[in-house]
Amino acid sequence: MTVIVVLIVMAAAGAWELYVRSIGYAPTLNDTEDLWTQTRRAVQPESLVIVGDSRPLFDLDLDELEKGLGKRPVQLALPGSCAYPVLADLANDERFHGTIICSIVPGMFFAPGGPLLETSEKALSRYRKQTLAQRASHHIGMFLEEHVAFLKQEDLTLERLLMRLPIPNRPNAQVPPTFPPYFQTVDRERRARMTEKCAQPGELQTRIQQIWLPLFTPPPPPSYVPIEVFGPNMGKAVEARFQDTAKAVDKLRARGGKIVFVRFPHNGELKALEDRLNPRARDWERLLNDTKVPGIYYEDHPELASFTCPEWSHLSAGDSVEFTKRLVPHLRTALQL
């Protein structure tokens, strides 16, 4: 009986593997907290570190940055996250006096709480508390993920498959927005590359575009907090983030560290939404002014503004190399290299 069970399981797993490969999946790493932790451990006192959201993860080519800046960067940007906790962690790390390239998406960077902040905090918590067993599992997992296509935690787990069922919700139900499906590969250095399927116009690209809009739209105020309390509280939280960021930058600089803020390309309806929710003068300009950190806003430079993000938020793998090449001189100037 056991032999039959093993054969059935192997046949089912093999069939599933063939099926997912036939619909465009390929083996790649899952961008887990353990992979992030492994990368965080690679930070040396003088490292060049990238922090932020998913945009620098897709848009920056590590080889080009190494060529242009003379150091292999460490990729610590986290998709769907607020970059502040990671920035503060590096600023509080007395060992570290290197250089930070920090992506700013104001709607994410100034998030007062919730999942965006939790993503960063969970990764940091794993970095601080990772056990030997978790470390070992991560290394075994990476080996498997590099060979098996169906090991996609963000897309092909039973939970994710169930979420795809077209079951309508109650009209008044406050259900969280959907997350985008698989559209990138990730390597051991956490260099993400958009898949060709997503880079080309098609159903996947359109679906992801439409997923960004509700994801980037702030949720309505909770029904149980009066609006006259909620509004000022949010204001205070954003104000505190400006002040805390300035303090973190000061700490880093006091040890000889350097930092540059970067606004990466985005377009289409997503850009219109971001510009409306977070006007440049209100958030970006004030951040530069309060922190005295040099900033690179892609729109200010024609050679950076000429790229188009296929799904409105990230560059294709090919464009990311060229974009990085063109960004390097601006980084050198901003960081006085």
């Binding site: 039959i4 069970v5 399981v9 899952n30 030997l132 787990t157 169930l162 309508p168």
Partner: protein, 473 residues
């Protein structure tokens, strides 16, 4: 090391292969001790030293108890063992809780005392291995067993990796005799062990983590009022999650032990088919309830001391049972609520006596559902992070938030409903028999298909490795 991790798959394969390849029983036992300490040290190596220290102390104290002449000196050595074990537990698990409560008490009499926050890391499974170890000195004291002469055997009894961190609470008296002679390799027993491990992982990874945990977390983590449907769904989801999580771990532990030739007693016996709360505690976390019964309830006098005293005994036992689960008053209330349920049940039984109508199927079903509902109400305190959350959920469940929010997706409610329906159906179908008997009655092709489906579902969940809830205890 979690059972639901890739590290454990490799670790277990290596240990089992090496174990059955060895001829010497001594070498096999040495291997298991080493493997158990590697298993435990993979979380936090220094705590393995603490585990060894308490084990070695109880080994020595057990020998002192056995050698002591006179009841008084025996008792002194036992008190030393109990004090040592409970002080370890008290420091690591209840240190900050006690300080916070002391601060509150001081504030009530006008003293502004600010205790230092002790940055104490809780050793994983300390509540379990403390009880494993303590059962030894208690049983030696009671004359139930003779002390072992082998420190290595006792170390293995306490630290045997399948049951080390989240139970079942295996008494030294049940485990040490199994170390006297090597188990014979039996293919059937080994395969049954593997099947149990698959079932346990399926319960944990698929049913608890994938189908129920998300909904329970969202309901208990929501900051506002919820309507009755969502409140009940969240609580029912947690009732299923905690069962599948903990019973899943126990089933894995029993299966892993069986693969190595050891028998661990059942820790769950289809508890959601319980009729009444005494029945529930005969079916839920059996190793803890029997531990508390034998070492606390009976010594207090049990139910042979009159109604009032027996009621107090029940409440004391359940109070401590609640506190054993966690250093928070919510756990205490959970325990007290169960104590209260038991007192009511005992009182009603005394008043009503044995009646023929109570054996009618419909009455049993009704009483079973009442038991399940009451257990669910108690779970609110177990799961809630504080009393504000517990009160909010309870108000929602009983219609206090008619205009509250709805936060669960239809899919989530369907998952909860389907899993709960089949869980309760399975518990009622199997309430009078063991899992092994149930499987024996099924055609082989059904068992093969179910086993394969469970294994496929586990693989489909890939790397979804939440820690077991009971690790924190």
């Amino acid at each position: 090391m979690l059972f639901n991790s890739l590290t454990f798959v490799v670790f277990f394969a290596v240990v089992v292969t090496a174990y059955w390849s060895m001829r010497s029983w001594t070498a096999r036992k040495n291997l298991l001790v080493t493997a158990s300490y590697v298993f435990y040290g993979a979380w936090n190596p220094p705590f393995a030293a603490l585990l060894f220290f308490t084990t070695a102390m109880d080994f020595w104290l057990g020998a002192r108890i056995a050698k002591a002449r006179g009841r008084h000196s025996r008792r002194v050595w036992l008190v030393a063992s109990v004090a040592m074990n409970l002080s370890m537990l008290g420091f690591f698990k209840y240190g900050n809780f006690l300080l916070e409560n002391f601060k509150w008490l001081m504030a009530q009499i006008g003293v502004a005392y600010q205790p230092p926050h002790l940055d104490i890391l809780l050793p994983v499974g300390i509540s379990f291995y403390t009880f494993h170890s303590l059962s030894y000195t208690l049983d030696v004291y009671r004359g139930v067993m003779s002390p072992t002469k082998s420190l290595r055997d006792f170390v293995l009894a306490v630290s045997f990796f399948p049951q080390l961190v989240a139970g079942p609470i295996v008494r030294a008296g049940d485990f040490l005799p199994q170390l006297l002679a090597p188990p014979k390799p039996q293919t059937g027993r080994f395969l049954w062990g593997l099947a149990l491990m698959t079932l346990g992982l399926f319960e944990k990874v698929v049913l608890a983590d994938t189908l129920l945990a998300g909904s329970a977390d969202r309901v208990f983590g929501y900051g506002g009022p919820l309507i009755a449907l969502d409140s009940w769904m969240g609580v029912i989801a947690f009732a299923g999650q905690i069962f599948f999580d903990f019973a899943g771990y126990s089933t894995c532990a029993i299966g892993a032990a069986l693969c190595l030739g050891f028998h661990l007693k059942d820790n769950f016996r289809f508890p959601y088919a319980a009729i009444g709360f005494s029945d529930f505690w005969r079916r839920w976390h059996i190793s803890l309830s029997t531990f508390l019964r034998d070492y606390l309830y009976f010594p207090l006098g049990g139910n042979r001391v009159g109604w009032a005293r027996a009621a107090i005994n029940l409440v004391i036992v359940m109070f401590l049972g609640g506190l054993w689960h966690g250093a928070a008053w919510t756990f205490v209330v959970w325990g007290l609520l169960h104590g209260f349920y038991l007192v009511i049940e005992h009182t009603l039984r005394a008043l009503i006596g044995e009646k023929a109508w109570a054996d009618a199927f419909a009455v049993k079903i009704l009483l079973g559902l009442v038991t399940y509902a009451a257990v669910c109400v108690a779970w609110v305190f177990f799961r809630a992070s504080d009393f504000t959350v517990a009160t909010r959920i309870l108000r929602g469940m009983f219609g206090g938030h008619a205009h509250g929010d709805a936060i669960l997706a239809t899919r989530e409610m369907l998952q909860i409903g389907i899993v709960t329906f089949f869980m309760i159906l399975a518990h009622w179908s199997l309430r009078e028999i063991s899992l092994e008997q149930a499987v024996e009655r099924l055609p082989r092709w059904v068992v093969t298909a179910v086993w394969a489906v469970m294994a496929c579902a586990i693989i489909l969940n890939q790397g979804n490795s939440n820690a077991f809830i009971y690790f924190q205890f």
